[in-house]
């Protein structure tokens, strides 16, 4: 992955420079007929994705980052493969399971269905930003208390959704919780305990 490294911190204006370079390349690509372009520069295909990298200013778990990513990179793959934030899980990559749930500007979002470049200027919170083993978020503590998981693979997504569920005002009854937690599949079948955990946090009355 060496040549596709995320360009961070130390190059505050790197993104902008890259973008200008890319802009001119984009113009060239747009103007030239494909066949001609291929003949003229057989190496362009190899280089294009990198040159098409977009600058991305994003805040992740309270840390501002200046990154450069290909437009096709999902937020989920950016987190897991490039930033080593593997707490966010990939269960389906199709928006069908909820394992990849993160918060973007405080709202729950399926990171597998979100392109990273669309998060420009946004604040992303992942499970790593919610709490740590030594400093658990009340939702995390409640999941442990009620044993709201087994294998733990869906759990970060459930915790992120659970917090959002309360914030949205969708945790007033067990039935409400069940309904608004139904985008998060748990194949181990911990649902009744997940409901108990969320209901308890909701009852605790803390703003999350």
């Amino acid at each position: 992955m060496s040549h596709q490294k995320t360009h961070e911190e130390n190059h505050p204006d790197k993104g902008r420079r890259d973008f200008i370079k890319q802009s001119s390349l984009l113009t060239a690509l747009a103007l030239a007929p494909p066949a001609l372009m291929k003949a003229a520069d057989p190496g362009w295909e190899a280089e294009a994705p990198r040159l098409l990298e977009q600058p991305l200013n994003i805040e992740i778990n309270g840390i501002s980052r200046k990154l450069s990513v290909e437009p096709r990179v999902t937020l989920l793959d950016l987190l897991r493969e490039q930033l080593a934030l593997t707490g966010t899980k990939k269960g389906c990559d199709h928006g069908q399971c909820g394992a990849c749930t993160v918060h973007v500007d405080g709202k729950r979002v399926l990171s597998c269905l979100s392109l990273a470049v669309m998060q420009e200027g946004k604040k992303v919170t992942t499970i790593e930003g919610v709490g740590t083993p030594d400093n658990l978020h009340p939702m995390q503590a409640a999941f442990i208390k009620h044993d709201g998981f087994q294998c733990g693979y869906c759990t970060p997504g459930q915790v992120m959704s659970g917090i959002a569920c309360i914030r949205e005002g969708h945790a007033d009854s067990d039935d409400d919780i069940r309904e608004y937690m139904s985008g998060n599949i748990c194949r181990c079948g911990a649902y009744p305990n997940i409901v108990k955990a969320i209901a308890e946090v909701k009852k605790g009355g803390k703003s999350l």
């Binding site: 269960g91 199709h94 087994q150 997940i194």
Partner: protein
């Protein structure tokens, strides 16, 4: 829910999952998440036909795509020494020839891997994989079990001979009888974590893999067989597994592919299956058609039972399971015949899925029992009690323990069985029809060998090591609970290290055996450790050694966090630090192998599941109101995780009963719903209150703790409980799973 009736009041409060903090904070590391330098990404390309041969495969465009490091097909793959010897590369759980990936151009099923594309980033490899183009020589495929029933054959081997006790067909001449057919579709494990592996060749003959497996040692052997390498040259890690339910009981071709790929590019390689491939390439619970013939006397005594099952398997292997076996022992019945057959189809080889065979078989048997009870105008519980097997009628042995009647009673009380009406469709509530049903489950209570290494440090910290791993039930929590109780240590003083082939050997996690095997090994190790401590305490110079007493026995000693004291006189004590120091030891180390022995008893775990539900006839909608699952699983070792495991089994059983069905379009031999949008699994809104009740009575023979397995019986028997409740609610008998609304809608 704790069942105080049977619980020892002195039991400590159930402990929280010891890996809970890691799992809720996202710091637990699963196979695809290890940080490995210079890693490349692989994607498998699957065949678009279900049977035939690859005529040409064009990889030129893919090879030229940006970032691509290699494209591997049968044409350029290094031939594996294990393959050439015709040896089993993937430890068959069945007879036949396991699929040899990239071996030749034969296609046996749709989406069979035909190429592995490797590139330096995930995006690049996904994009390049689309450029692989194959042309095929198609051959007519067979994927339909129903239209191929005449090809059904008995599997190889004496285990699959027809079973016969007494007269066959005795049921036919019984006073009251039924004869029905039951259908189970293809069900897919679909753990939330997809199949994932990172393979790294440390040198030419040393390999490290992080992979999704239920048994690190079995994976080690399988890879060793394929590559003809000594197992000790292969390290397999799988500390955390994101669910598996049987899917990771064998080493699949994708794992071998990743190892081949990593060798080729001389770089670590990560390969993660997409969800679609989880339906097509890593097994499933096989589609099965069953017939039950059941007859009884007019007063409800079983006379005869016939249970036949025909299941599919792949074109290249015989996959078998114990579908019909439950009918041989669950009830006292003098005349029993069972028959089991297979049909080879163009589909990936199935693999045991939670409650394998027994779950499918009990759906048929327990539905049939309900049907016959209805014919007899008997309460289904009463009918079962009349036919209770007081000893094992198949093996002619006494049970090691059996508390099914207690389960009937506990569950009936909790669900409110007394409110159930004998006649179906007798409980309307507004627009809904309410019904109650129950079903019984059973699974062999097995124990296998396990070795534990224990190390007690001066500060009272105890480290337990075993290669066993955990796909979710809570292996480390169970081990910690056992050791804490035996050693008088608080939970936070115990550390479990597991899920790695460098640790002492442990069993594969499957067949509900881990607590019985590894838990018992921890128990035996603690007993041995206490004996060693007693020996040290008996030595001259120890405060325990007096003019009168030279030998201290473990039972004389109170073991605690701070050290040991004399039970009779707590003033006589020594800390572990001092005890070790006095004996010139840095720590106390002990490795112990533990296994069970053959016993003249028939050993099974049992469960009884109760369901209360309502059906909306105008729309066919089913709403589950309440599930009560009762288990006779011997001593409950780890209360909290045991309850969760039972609950999870009930949820899985509701999925089997109500929605799970991989539909194959037989024109093309391919599934049409291989994703989570179209293949439905239970979500939170589908699941009501689930109460778990344990009889919690020690089995005297299974292992020193008296536990029996839980994982399978949690699911076995749930589906028929649902079907029986649907009948009680509506008067409609659904014999074909899943029970979807189209089968119940009334216009």
């Amino acid at each position: 829910m704790r069942n105080d009736l049977f619980l020892d009041k002195n039991e400590p409060v159930p402990i929280d999952r010891v890996d809970g903090k890691a799992k809720v904070t996202g710091t637990a590391t699963y196979s695809a998440e290890y940080k490995v330098q210079n890693m490349a990404y692989g994607v498998l390309v699957g065949s678009t036909i279900a049977k035939g041969r690859i005529r040409t495969i064009d990889i030129k465009a893919a090879e030229k795509a940006p970032g691509v490091l290699a494209v591997i097909t049968y044409e350029n793959a290094a031939k594996l020494p294990g393959y050439q010897a015709g040896k089993d590369p993937a430890k068959p759980q069945a007879t036949g020839q396991p699929l040899r990936i990239f071996y030749d151009n034969e296609i046996f099923y749709y989406d069979q891997p035909i190429a592995l594309v490797i590139a330096d980033t995930f995006e690049r490899v996904l994009s390049a994989a689309r450029l692989v183009k194959a042309q095929y020589e198609k051959v007519a495929h067979e994927t339909d079990l129903e239209t191929n029933l005449e090809k059904a054959k008995r599997p190889t081997g004496p285990r699959f001979e027809d079973y016969k006790r007494g007269e066959s067909d005795a049921y036919k001449s019984a006073a009251v009888k039924i004869e029905q057919q039951y259908y189970h579709p293809i069900e897919v494990h679909n753990p939330m974590e997809p199949g994932s592996i990172i393979a790294t060749w440390e040198s030419d003959d040393k390999l490290t893999v992080y992979t999704k497996t239920q048994g690190v040692e079995s994976t080690q052997r399988s890879i060793g067989d394929a590559f003809k390498m000594p197992p000790e040259n292969i390290t397999v890690n799988a500390e955390h597994v994101g669910g598996a339910f049987g899917m990771a009981l064998r080493t699949w071709p994708y794992e071998i592919a990743a190892v081949i790929g990593a060798k080729k590019i001389k770089r670590p390689l990560k390969l993660v299956l997409h969800r679609e491939q989880m339906f097509t390439n890593v097994g499933h619970r096989p589609e099965t058609i069953q017939k039950i013939g059941l007859g009884a006397t007019a007063d409800g005594k079983l006379v005869g039972l016939l249970h036949e099952a025909t299941a599919e398997t792949s074109a290249y292997e015989e996959f078998t399971e114990a579908t019909v076996n439950i009918s041989r022992f669950l009830y006292a019945c003098p005349n029993v015949t069972t028959r089991y057959k297979l049909v080879h189809l163009n589909i990936c080889t199935p693999i045991w899925m939670r409650g394998p065979g027994e779950a499918t078989g009990s759906f048929a048997l327990e539905s049939a029992m309900d049907e016959l009870a209805h014919e007899l105008k008997l309460d289904p519980l009463d009918f079962r009690i009349r036919n209770h097997a007081d000893s094992d009628p198949e093996k002619n042995l006494p049970w090691s323990s059996k508390f099914v009647k207690e389960c009937y009673q506990l569950g009936a009380d909790r669900i409110g069985w007394k409110d159930r009406k004998l006649a179906p469709r007798s409980r309307p509530e507004g627009d809904w029809l309410v019904g109650y049903g129950m079903g019984t489950g059973a699974f062999g209570a097995f124990r296998s060998a396990a070795t534990i290494k224990a190390e007690l440090a001066p500060d009272g910290k105890l480290i337990l090591q075993c290669s066993v791993n955990d796909m979710g039930p809570g292996t480390a929590t169970m081990m910690t609970t056992v050791a804490a109780k035996e050693m008088g240590l608080p939970v936070n003083k115990i550390k479990v290290e597991m899920g790695n082939t460098t640790l002492p050997p442990g069993p594969t996690q499957g067949g509900s055996t881990v607590t019985s095997s590894v838990g018992a090994a921890v128990y035996d190790t603690c007993v041995a450790l206490k004996e060693q401590i007693a020996v040290l305490a008996s030595k001259e110079g120890s405060p325990f050694h007096t003019a009168e007493v030279h030998v201290i026995k473990p039972e004389d000693i109170e073991f605690s966090e701070s050290g040991i004291s004399l039970k009779k006189d707590s003033g006589v004590k020594v800390s572990y630090a001092d005890l070790l120091k006095q004996n010139g030891l840095a720590s106390l180390e002990l490795t112990k192998e533990s296994k069970g022995s053959q016993q003249p008893y028939s050993m099974y775990s049992f469960s009884v599941h109760f369901v209360k539900l309502r059906v909306h006839p105008a729309t066919g909608r089913i709403k589950i109101d309440h599930v009560v699952s009762c288990a006779d699983a011997g001593t409950i070792v780890s209360q909290k995780t045991a309850e969760s495991q039972m609950m999870g089994g009930a949820v899985g059983g509701l999925g089997m009963a109500l929605m799970e069905d991989m539909v194959v379009d037989h024109r093309f031999g391919r599934p049409i719903n291989n994703n989570f949008a179209d293949y439905h699994v239970p979500v939170n809104a589908d699941i009501p209150a689930v109460d778990v009740l344990f009889v919690n009575k020690k089995d005297p023979f299974t292992n020193p703790m008296g536990s029996k397995g839980l994982g399978e019986i949690a699911l076995v028997g749930v589906a028929p409980a649902v079907a029986n409740a649907v009948f009680n609610a509506t008067g409609k008998r659904i014999r074909s799973l899943p029970i979807t609304l189209d089968k119940l809608i009334e216009t």
